[in-house]
């Protein structure tokens, strides 16, 4: 009987040991766009007023409606960072450009120079509070700023503190990152926030006078008990790792969508997981792409990435960006885009699957994980030569696969 008891105890110990051993490796490692998180990334924000003629024709307005929500029953504090990723012409500093063709080439040596400006703000959200603002307007006061609010069933009052600035330039193209912190601005290990963005275009007088596309903010979850509270956020140690590979299913560029007969194009916006807001030093990396068509044929491509980039998909295969506002047969790159490995003219199938990853390096203080979002733009058959003649658009979150071996870092000021 005594023997039985000892063996039973031994058995229990073995099981417990195994469980404990396993428990140490059980940290989930997902970056997610469908769960609340501690860090939210909106990879693409855009604002272009009716007066701007660089990102949209005159009279057309594009703005991004941002939704941010506290999913918990506790107050949350946030530090948020817009990154204005506009490029400007070297000899026309007020002129925003997508490629050198957007600049006045009568100026000698006029170049399209990339630029990155960080604008930060701090706000709090009361329990379960959703807030909404337009990038072009910001939000001068939050809902419970003027008079405190009380969650249902409690007598505790909560006030909103802080405000949200509007885009600092017209047009504006860039990203937003928000980090959940404690009351003393120290990063904490809670996963309470979620977000969405909807890019809305109004085109007065056109048949489709309003268009919208939306996506979920990408969330990076904090690992419980792992956060040291300093201003260097170690993604992969204090927070879940960034994905090893991004996987995007897409229509090939200039494919004919069979329901409507519209031509379809895909834009891919990529931002690095790492960010240095303290020194405002942009992260530079290379992205590697593998594309598979429906014949199981595989092609590859690569592109440089600095801080933020919206790629026209076919430009990933040709290495040339088309001008923002000089589309069609006048654009010298128009035909060459058809020769991209992302073009339906090359692949001969409607859809493809592309795997995207940042290349690794031996640097230990910076990582090269990537996050992104995809957009599809549809244009009617009679607008074939005008790639900006969008009749409708949609956006979607990109899938993730695996995790990065290398840490990523977000450095806060």
């Amino acid at each position: 009987m005594r023997t039985v008891m000892r063996k039973t105890v031994l058995a229990g110990i073995l099981t417990v040991l195994g469980t404990v051993f396993l428990g140490t490796g059980a940290a989930s490692a997902d970056v997610t766009s469908d769960r609340a998180a501690a860090i939210l990334v909106w990879p693409k924000l855009i604002y272009s007023s009716a007066e701007d003629t660089y990102l949209s024709p005159a009279g057309v307005t594009i703005d991004t409606t941002i939704q941010l929500t506290n999913t918990s029953d506790q107050e949350v504090f946030l530090r948020c960072f817009y990154v204005n990723a506009n490029s400007h012409c070297s000899n026309e500093p007020d002129r925003v450009c997508g490629s050198v063709e957007d600049c006045n080439l009568e100026f000698p040596n006029n170049l399209c120079v990339p630029g990155w400006i960080e604008i930060d703000f701090e706000i709090n959200l009361t329990p379960h509070q959703p807030v909404v603002w337009n990038l072009g307007d910001g939000r001068a006061s939050l809902p419970c700023s003027d008079a405190p609010c009380a969650p249902a069933g409690t007598s505790t009052l909560y006030s909103n503190v802080g405000n949200i600035p509007p885009a600092n330039e017209d047009p504006f193209m860039g990203q937003l990152k928000c980090i959940q912190v404690g009351p003393n601005n120290e990063p904490i290990d809670r996963n309470d926030i979620k977000g969405e963005a909807t890019i809305v275009t109004t085109r007065p007088g056109e048949d489709q006078s309003v268009d919208a596309r939306g996506y979920n903010a990408v969330g990076i979850q904090a690992i419980e008990g792992a956060n040291d509270g300093d201003n260097t956020l170690r993604i992969g140690e204090e927070y879940n790792s960034c994905p090893g590979v991004l996987i995007m299913d897409h229509f090939f560029d200039d494919a004919v969508e069979p329901i409507s007969g519209d031509f379809v194009k895909t834009h891919l916006t990529i931002v690095p997981c790492s960010e240095n807001f303290e020194l405002q030093a942009p992260i530079e990396t290379n992205i590697q792409l593998l594309v598979f068509n429906e014949f199981e044929q595989r092609f590859s491509s690569s592109q440089p990435l600095t801080c933020f980039k919206e790629y026209e998909l076919c430009a990933l295969g040709t290495g040339r960006d088309r001008p923002l506002n000089a589309p069609g047969f006048d654009d010298p790159n128009f035909r060459s885009c058809q020769r991209s490995v992302f073009s339906a003219f090359v692949n001969g199938t409607l859809t493809g699957q592309t795997r995207i990853r940042g290349t690794s390096s031996e640097q230990e203080d910076v990582g090269f994980g990537l996050l992104g979002v995809a957009e599809e733009f549809y244009r009617r058959a009679d607008d074939f030569d005008d790639v900006t003649a969008t009749s409708s658009s949609t956006a979607f979150n990109i899938h993730h696969f695996g995790v990065r071996d290398q840490l990523d870092f977000i450095r806060l000021p």
């Binding site: 009987m1 039985v4 039973t8 031994l10 058995a11 110990i13 099981t15 195994g18 396993l22 989930s28 997902d30 469908d34 769960r35 609340a36 307005t61 703005d63 939704q67 929500t69 379960h128 509070q129 807030v131 909404v132 609010c149 249902a152 979620k194 109004t202 489709q208 006078s209 309003v210 268009d211 919208a212 596309r213 939306g214 996506y215 979920n216 996987i247 200039d254 004919v256 069979p258 329901i259 519209d262 598979f292 068509n293 429906e294 199981e296 339906a344 003219f345 001969g348 859809t351 699957q353 795997r355 599809e376 409708s392 949609t394 956006a395 979607f396 990109i398 899938h399 993730h400 696969f401």
Partner: protein, 434 residues
């Protein structure tokens, strides 16, 4: 006595071995819209007179993958009741192969379909060659008027369910609009399988909890709650409003003003100077049965929900058994809370206002006139003794000309039903026999 001793030892080693075995699996125990999975759910698939859907599915692995797929048609029959008609088919995808089809046309096996080759050596994209590529198998077209869902389950070559987690998918819904066709897209919901997925044959158990990587169940349990961020019903989209494409104030007596009138956006007459009228403000026109016939300067949120549990073997008799009653808690920007409930049988698509005020959206607790804030957060919680739900949210936004733009958003998820119920609630997907 000897037997007892051996049993005790054996149980210990088994426990240790199981736990060690788990270490290598690394299954992430959540339902996801952004990872390869073993069960794909497309909650909203349409093939009506005004809308059609393109399904995209890809194999994310370097091995061939097989899947059994099931359409469920929830369109009303001649008596006005949902049909719950199930149609199934098989697909197989070579390594990393993406595939796609238009649901109203299906995709038949035709090795010769290809695009015309141009003199330049490039091929000419066209509708006729939309099905070029390796055919994934014969995919039937759905009947006209189809409104329902699609589920695909990863299986092995013999048709037995497996937890490979190699499938991902997207659905693009194109709807006839003023400017041609509007586009909205969402990611398929993925339910990851573990290494013991398929252990109970065609009865798939969704019983893997989210807070552990130990292999306890076959497939990840469904979320315990869904969280939808949305806009108040009948609020005007802020970009539409700000650009004067929504309601605008009209002066009581235009003759008293000189020069061209300044555009002043409004949602009600109260937003205008005294005596002014808000013209083309938010309005929704409903048909006799409560359908939305027209929308002006306003937004509406449309939810599509399906129960996690599904019985493809007995689709008609299991509807009531798998129905889920769900509680809604809605928070506005002032933290004010309202609550509602509804029951989801097999497939349910509805606008938020239809929950409490189906024939007068203005008085709905979800409406902008009642809530007074643009942003709302709604938490959906199934009843404690019932299974989980999956879904997708659509936002309709219209301008003053009643031109509508649609978006589809994946819904956020919280926790899992299995853990929340202490392991008592297990959602089941039962496949039909082959």
């Amino acid at each position: 006595m000897r037997t007892v001793k051996w049993s005790a030892l054996l149980s210990g080693f088994c426990g240790f071995a199981v736990v060690l075995g788990v270490m290598t699996s690394g299954a992430h125990a959540i339902v996801t819209t952004e990872r390869g999975a073993s069960i794909l759910a497309f909650p909203k698939v349409l093939a009506t007179e005004t809308a059609d859907t393109i399904i995209q599915i890809a194999n994310t692995s370097n091995n061939m993958v097989h899947a059994r797929c099931f359409y469920v048609n929830a369109a009303p029959d001649s008596a006005g009741r949902p049909q719950w008609q199930v149609t199934d088919f098989n697909i197989w995808l070579t390594k990393q192969q993406p595939t796609s089809w238009q649901v109203s046309r299906g995709r038949f096996v035709n090795p010769t379909d290809s695009c015309e080759t141009l003199p330049s050596g490039l091929v000419q994209p066209s509708i006729e060659c939309a099905q070029a590529g390796l055919d994934p198998g014969a995919i039937p077209p759905v009947p006209l008027g189809f409104t329902g869902e699609l589920k695909c389950i990863e299986v092995d070559v013999s048709g037995s369910p497996i937890g490979g987690n190699h499938l991902k998918g997207e659905a693009t819904i194109r709807t006839v609009s003023a400017g041609g066709y509007d586009a909205a897209k969402y990611n398929a919901l993925g339910i990851l399988g573990t290494e013991i997925a398929g252990a109970t044959g065609d009865e798939l158990l969704l019983d893997q909890p989210s807070d552990t990587e130990d292999v306890i169940g076959q497939y990840n349990a469904c979320p315990n709650q869904l969280i939808v961020n949305h806009f108040a019903e009948l609020a005007t989209d802020p970009t539409v409003l700000g650009t004067g494409q929504g309601g605008v104030c009209e002066e009581d007596d235009p003759a008293t003003t000189s020069g061209p009138p300044a555009v002043q956006p409004c949602t009600t007459d109260a937003d205008c100077p005294e005596g002014g009228v808000c013209a083309n403000g938010p309005e929704v026109l409903l048909g006799p049965t409560g359908t939305v016939d027209s929308l002006q300067s306003a937004m509406l949120t449309e939810l599509t929900l399906i129960p996690c549990s599904q019985n493809f073997e007995e689709p008609f008799t299991s509807v009531e058994e798998n129905a889920v009653t769900v509680q809604f808690l809605t928070y506005n920007e002032f933290e004010q809370v309202t609550s509602f409930s509804t029951t989801v049988e097999c497939w349910k698509n509805f606008f938020m206002f239809q929950l409490d005020s189906p024939f007068n959206p203005t008085t709905s607790q979800f409406s902008f006139p009642v809530q007074g804030t643009l942003g709302l957060q709604t938490v959906l919680t199934p009843n404690a003794d019932e299974g989980g739900l999956l879904g997708v949210a659509g936002i309709l936004r219209a301008d003053a000309d009643s031109v509508v733009a649609r978006t589809l958003m994946n819904i956020h998820m919280v926790g899992d039903r299995w853990s929340a119920s202490g392991g008592e609630i297990v959602d089941r997907v039962i496949l039909s026999g082959q």
